[in-house]
Structures are given as structure tokens and as C-alpha cells.
Symmetry: C2
Subunit: 339 residues, 2 copies
């Protein structure tokens, strides 16, 4: 009797693990072919008996952020951070009242402020962050993101992450994948919340960068943000960012816009007959006007046009938010959970 | 009797683990204060009961490469690779016979070739790698390093790694540290052998970079190396490389020259009274003319002057290769092992 008891106790952890392995890793995904395709890829690449087995070191998965892991409408969250910073700093810059693009920001006319294109955005970025130490900047983002809300959904930005994608990240990591963010967003901006929100540590976040310089300030080592751009992690910049930061090609990449096309090409297109690792490209298609937003070929933010055409040529999985996802955001997911 | 047998069998793995934990993690280090100081730091930062405990995510350790993990005399190994490439490519460039710095390289007068300083080095780097895809470059390094030998020691470069430092890397990783290379050497050059030789994967190698561009070449995605420098990972560039690639300050850094001083400052100097993580700086001092080379303040490669002065101000551990290391290279280590 005593021996039997012990046997059961010692088997318990094994039984729990086995049961956890059998549990649905993607409960917020509908039972559609998209979910099946993802699970088949992950299972075949991690099964040592499979022809598609991939050693753990090569299990690199890269994810765009805006529009892929969280919502990007009516515009990228980081732009709202910048606009809020302009308002905060305005008392020290009386000239901004008449000087574009600042004047339009202060009037709340964001479309007009952004009509100056990249040049206007760079002026705004420089005015709101250059000269700060990296810690001062991180502190400002940390404070802001605790309370700032999306103007249309009235939700915290960190509550507007996609529950199905959080499950995908967790699932991949549980299966020995190393998950990275590779995004056009600012690397410093994303690193503040990526670990807490996505489980992705700072060293696995790749993004756009301002130049910076190291200095000993009053005997203390600091990194000071400068005003010129060092790197734009978008379009052909994404494979470059991957090459510089990771040093090997991912075998899995997820995006949602034309800015992600080159990353998906770099990840999935075979180079030669020797290049026999299995490869997976995924595009999130924003087609759910009720629960999120619906946009693709004509959108200003997150335009999905060439990449959508490339998806069929390259066998990338196009995920319909409307049809393939049970829920969009974590709050809705826990409220309307099927469990 | 049967039960007793089972008990012993089931305890065996535990006993083996306990015994492994008690084994000396640094057998190639002499029983000097240097070894004690390292072990005390690692034990106190990983003991949850200790006031100096550091959560695993913050256990970042960065290592210079040339002179810290392997020998750097009579000059950096990568320079020999470049010189060998010049010789290999010379038949296609008849003009090199009369054009500096190539002419001096072809005559074997390396000192003269390098007398043109950084400009000459950049010309050599560009001529021997720009236009190559990243794979072509990696293949060239991989082929070269299999057979190329240090001209003075007549040993393979990968056999000229420091056994005590290999043990330190392994020890740190076993204790939950993430180990990085942060070196002035070319990032692509080091990534070819860092995983096999040091156990450090490509994504944990930070180094100097040429500009590169992504292209679809005959429908195949490639990264093409260009001729201008993108980033020099030396001196103040080292903390910058750490900030960009890792996104948090290391708590342990090891170097051997003035080029590492800023990395050690960035790692070890406290910023404020809130900055209470324990911190460790280490400098390898090349003072062993018999077994390796002896040089410091006046050396052309690996000059250790300002950083040596900074060591006493900052309580960095200066490791004497002569007094603190039982052996230098792995081959010697296995030949003259104390075990």
C-alpha cells in the first residue's frame, strides 16, 4: 500500500506534464486550417523522428510588432507617445506654437502634423528624445504606457495585444523556439514593455534606432540619445536587422504589412537544394471591422498590398482575424472564454 | 532488500548532481585570490538567500575576444585572414603588385601594410569582402580557420583560446549567466567559430560591422557586404554595441586592453544608490612571455595602459596569466593536467 502510494506520487509530475502537452496550445484560435497548419509545423519541426526536425539552435521565430502583436490603428502607438511628449514639453518651447509640425500636434491635428512625412516624424522624434539618457527615455515610456489609452478604443495600449498571438509566442517558446520582435518601432520604446507584455527580453527586440553615444557624466556611465537616425528597421531593413542582431535566418516569421515582406522572403525563400530546413511565413490580415479594424491595400498605417500578393506565390499563411481568431484582445478573451 | 536497491538507484542522479556541483568549476585557475574572487561573486549572485542575489534575466556577462578569449599576437587573427585573402585574390588584381597597402601585403611586409592605419585596414577589408554575400564570406572564414596557423606559435588559431577563460564561460553559463562576445573584431568573422569554440551562439556575438544590404538575387534572398564601415565595436563603441544588441547593462565584463575600458566602466560603475546589483570587471594581463606573450602599456595590439590604471580605481580584478593560470591553451592543459 505504501509502495503503491509512492508510485502514484512519483508519477504525478509526469502525468501532469503529459496532460499539459495534450492541452490545446492555441485556445483562442478557431478550429480552421490556419490553426492546423501552425500546429503541424511546430510539431513536425520539434519531433526528433520527423524528417522536418529542426535542432533547437535553429528554431528562431521573428515577429513584427505594430499590427502583428498589437493594434496599429488609428496610428502606431509610439506616435501617440510622441504627441503626448510634445504637449508635455511645449511650455519649454514657446516657438512650437507657430512652428510645424509641432503647431499641428499642439492643436491636435495629427494628420496635418504627419503630412510632412518622414522628415516631420524625425523632427518630432528628435525634439522629444534626443539629449535624454536611455534611462530617462525608458522611464518616460514606462510612465506613459501605464495610463495612455487608444483614442478610439479607449483601452490601454498594452491591453490591445492580440491574445491569439500571445498564445502563439508562448507555444513556440514551450517548443524550444527563441522568439524575437523585429519591428519598425523604436527599439528603446518596445524594450520597455516587451518582456512583461510578450515575454520577450530586451536582447530579443530589434527595432529602429536613433544614434546614441556613450559618456561618463559626472563619473556615471550613460548612453545619450542623439537626434539622427541610425537604422530604420522596416522593409529591406528587417532582414538587415535580423542579420546584424541574430546572425542567422529565422525559420518562422510573422507580419501584417508590406513592411514585413522582405523579412518573410528572407525567412521562407529557399536558397538552394541544400537549404532544406522547413520554413513558415504568416501574415495577419486585419479584416475584422467589428472587433478590431478592417484594412489592407489602401491603408496609410499597415498597408498590406504587395505582401498579400507575395503570400500566394510563397505559400505564406494569411490569417483572417475575423474567421481564424476566437477573440482578439486578452480582456475579451477572458470575458468570453470557451472554457 | 529490493526496496533498498530501488532507493539507491533513485538517489543516484541526485548524488551525481551534488558531486558535480562540488567539483572545481575552474580547474585551470591557480588557487590564488583571483579564483576565489570570481567564485565568490558567482556564488553570491546565484544564491537566492544572498543579499547579492541577481535574478537570471540580469545575469549578463560580456567578453572581449582578441587577447581575452584567445591570443592576439603578433597581430589579430582576423588580419592574417585578410592578408591570406589578398594573396588568394591577387591573380585577379594585377594592379595590387604596385598599389599600397596591397603591394606590401603581397611582399609579406605586414607592418608596412598596416602603417597606413585605419584607412589601410579599411581598404584591405573592403577589397577582400565587399560584394560577397554573407554566406560566401562565412564559408571563406570557415575554410581558412580550419588550417591557418599563427606564424609564431605554429598552432591553429582555434587552439590558441585560453583554457581558463573557456572554463569561466562554461561556469557562468552553468550558473544561469548569458555569455556574450563584445569585440572590435568583425561580427561575421567571429560568428563562424564562436558557437563551436566558445559555446556562444551567433545572436550573442557583438562586433564591428560593414554596411550590408538585403537583395533578392535570382529570386534568392541574400545579404551583400558593402565596402563602408557601419559600426566599430571598440572603446566607446563597446557600450554602444551592448546597448543596441543587449539592451541592458551587463553585471560582469572581461577584457584585456584600453579598448575594453568603456565596456568595463559601463558594466561596473554604479549610477546611483538605487543601482545595487553586484558588478564585476576583469582584465586579463598578458605577463607570461614563456607560455604566451608579455605586453601591456607599449603594445601596438592590445595596449593595456589607461585601463590598467582604471582597474585600481574601480576594483577590477587584474588576472595574471603567469600567476593565476595553471595552463594557457587547451592542448597544454590536457597534456599537463593536474588530475
Amino acid at each position: 500500500m505504501k509502495i503503491a502510494d509512492k508510485t502514484i506520487t512519483s508519477l504525478l509530475p509526469i502525468l501532469l506534464v503529459a496532460s499539459a502537452l495534450r492541452a490545446d496550445p492555441l485556445p483562442s484560435w478557431e478550429e480552421t486550417p490556419a490553426k492546423t497548419e501552425i500546429i503541424q509545423f511546430v510539431e513536425s519541426t520539434t519531433d526528433p523522428e520527423s524528417d522536418s526536425y529542426v535542432p533547437p539552435a535553429e528554431r528562431i521565430a521573428t515577429f513584427d510588432n505594430d499590427g502583428t502583436l498589437w493594434s496599429e490603428q488609428p496610428m502606431y502607438s509610439q506616435l501617440f507617445f510622441i504627441f503626448d511628449r510634445v504637449n508635455e514639453l511645449a511650455p519649454k518651447h514657446p516657438d512650437w506654437k507657430t512652428q510645424e509640425p509641432f503647431a499641428s500636434v499642439l492643436k491636435g491635428d495629427y494628420a496635418k502634423a504627419l503630412s510632412g512625412g518622414d522628415k516631420a516624424i524625425m523632427e518630432l522624434v528628435a525634439a522629444t528624445s534626443s539629449g535624454m539618457t536611455s534611462e530617462e527615455y525608458s522611464d518616460a515610456v514606462r510612465d506613459w504606457i501605464k495610463t495612455a489609452k487608444n483614442p478610439e478604443k479607449k483601452m490601454l495600449y498594452t491591453d490591445m495585444v492580440f491574445q491569439p498571438m500571445l498564445e502563439l509566442l508562448t507555444y513556440l517558446r514551450a517548443e524550444g523556439y527563441k522568439t524575437y520582435i523585429v519591428s519598425g518601432g523604436g527599439i528603446d520604446f518596445m524594450r520597455v514593455f516587451a518582456e512583461e507584455v510578450y515575454g520577450i527580453p530586451p536582447e530579443q527586440v530589434v527595432g529602429s534606432e536613433l544614434q546614441a553615444k556613450f559618456a561618463m557624466q559626472d563619473g556615471v556611465p550613460v548612453m545619450i540619445k542623439e537626434s539622427s537616425l541610425d537604422f530604420i528597421d522596416d522593409k529591406a531593413g528587417k532582414p538587415l536587422g535580423i542579420y546584424q542582431h541574430i546572425g542567422r535566418r529565422p525559420i518562422f516569421a510573422a507580419g501584417n504589412s508590406d513592411g514585413d515582406m522582405q523579412m518573410l522572403q528572407y525567412t521562407t525563400v529557399r536558397r538552394s537544394s541544400d537549404d532544406d530546413l522547413p520554413r513558415f511565413g504568416l501574415l495577419v490580415h486585419h479584416d475584422d471591422a467589428d472587433r478590431e479594424w478592417a484594412y489592407d491595400r489602401d491603408s496609410h498605417f499597415g498597408k498590406l498590398d504587395k505582401a498579400l500578393d507575395a503570400a500566394s506565390d510563397n505559400d505564406w499563411l494569411v490569417v483572417s482575424m475575423k474567421d481564424d481568431w476566437v477573440s482578439i484582445y486578452p480582456a475579451a478573451s477572458s470575458a468570453s472564454s470557451k472554457e
